[in-house]
């Protein structure tokens, strides 16, 4: 990745972090708020493949870990697994399909929240599996389907500064992508 892309990714992550800790925390349904974090690796993976998804998920997760009371590094771990999984699972799919982003956002965010809770439980944070899972799944699924649209714009701006269709992780031998 070029320095310009890294700078833009850092800026997008910072803006999302501020939005998450201010606006998103004020939107609560049954005590649950929307979660922007998982949308970064999901959109990065769909836009630029599993490797970019994993890298974006790791760094954005680490940034969110700085303000979360959960174990430091847990969001980074889930983010990188999520980015890689989404990128790999959508390889064979037409990535220009309009349904792909919302569907990936819903499935990916819900799966990431489940993995986050289970891993937290394994690491001794038993309160993480004592939550209202139905409310978390419902709120996170609906909000992710809506919020993935602006996050996708932001990530597209960050990953493709020249508006080019080149993959930013060097992709010798792979065909160029349509975006």
């Amino acid at each position: 990745m070029s320095g310009r892309v890294l700078l833009r990714l850092a800026l997008v992550t910072l803006v999302l972090l501020v939005i998450q800790s201010t606006l998103m925390l004020s939107i609560r349904i049954r005590g649950v708020h929307p979660d922007l974090l998982w949308l970064v690796p999901i959109t990065a993976a769909i836009l630029d493949g599993p490797e970019t998804g994993a890298i974006a998920g790791f760094w954005s997760g680490l940034a969110f870990d700085l303000i979360l009371p959960t174990p430091f590094g847990l969001s980074a771990l889930v983010g990188c697994i999520l980015g890689y999984a989404v990128g790999s699972a959508t390889k064979a799919v037409d990535r220009e399909a309009t349904w792909l982003m919302p569907v990936a956002a819903v499935i990916g965010s819900v799966a990431a929240d489940m993995l986050f809770a289970v891993l937290g439980g394994i690491f001794g944070q038993r309160q993480m599996v004592q939550i209202d899972f139905v409310a978390v799944v419902a709120v996170v699924a609906v909000s992710s389907a809506l919020l993935v649209i602006p996050v996708n714009w932001a990530m597209r701006w960050a990953l493709f500064p020249d508006g080019t269709s080149r993959s930013l992780v060097s992709a010798h031998g792979t065909r160029s992508r349509p975006w």
């Binding site: 994993a54 790791f58 303000i67 979360l68 009371p69 809770a117 004592q130 992709a171 031998g173």
Partner: protein, 278 residues
Amino acid sequence: MPRSRRSRRTLTVIVLVVASLTIISIDLNGRTHSLTSGVKSVANSIFSPLRGAVVDILSPIGNFFAGSLHYGSLQTENEKLQATIGRLRAEQTEKGFENAQLRNLTALEHLPYLQSLPTVTAQAVDQNSSNFTSTVTINKGRGAGVDVGMPVVAAGGLAGLVIQSFHNSAVVQLVNDGQSRVGVTSADGVVTGTVDGQGTDATMTLDQVTPRTPVHKGEVMFTSGLDASAYPPGIPVARIVAFHTTPGAVQETITVAPEADLSRPLAYVDVVQWEPTP
């Protein structure tokens, strides 16, 4: 896809997963936790003012819309609060004499008494920043004398315990968090046990109460302040809402509700500058 690219991709993910696991291990290890805590502290010192500025900009806009939409209910709530303040002032005056007597007695016995302990009033800046924990972030930290392990009281009872302290902010684990445990006793000392948080749910359980202990619905449980307790004695923690004895069980099944009103966002809290004696 060339094999070299696939191998590199796999290697990248493995490196990131190993790096994440290493960071988690460092954070959860008591001896190395200060490293991650230090990083978080620096990040919070930088990030808090930024978040505060955004909140300062957004709050008036949100309050304007919320106020205009709920004007009637806000006016009713304000009237109710005024009535409550009046009643509490009267009760406070009546209890002034009793409190003075209690303070003298506890001083004679060298026992800590909540009203004699210094407190730091702090504003709650956000509550439950994660969907998986029950915590509140306050705008006072080490710079104001707030340290890890200090009890926090608010809205009528024990709110929680400081679990992370940075220079300008701190994180409080609320009593209903799944990791929270508080040793409690009833006012007459007959019932003793542990109040366990049950996640973000409003109810908690009172454990380690032996069967056939005379418990009463509505009875308030206070911090016991026993040896090495994390809390000074006498802080209201929870009220018994239901109980039953299961045949053959080794303890009563008791459901309690927190005395501090945690069903709505906390606005201000008092951090009690008290640390347990080792």
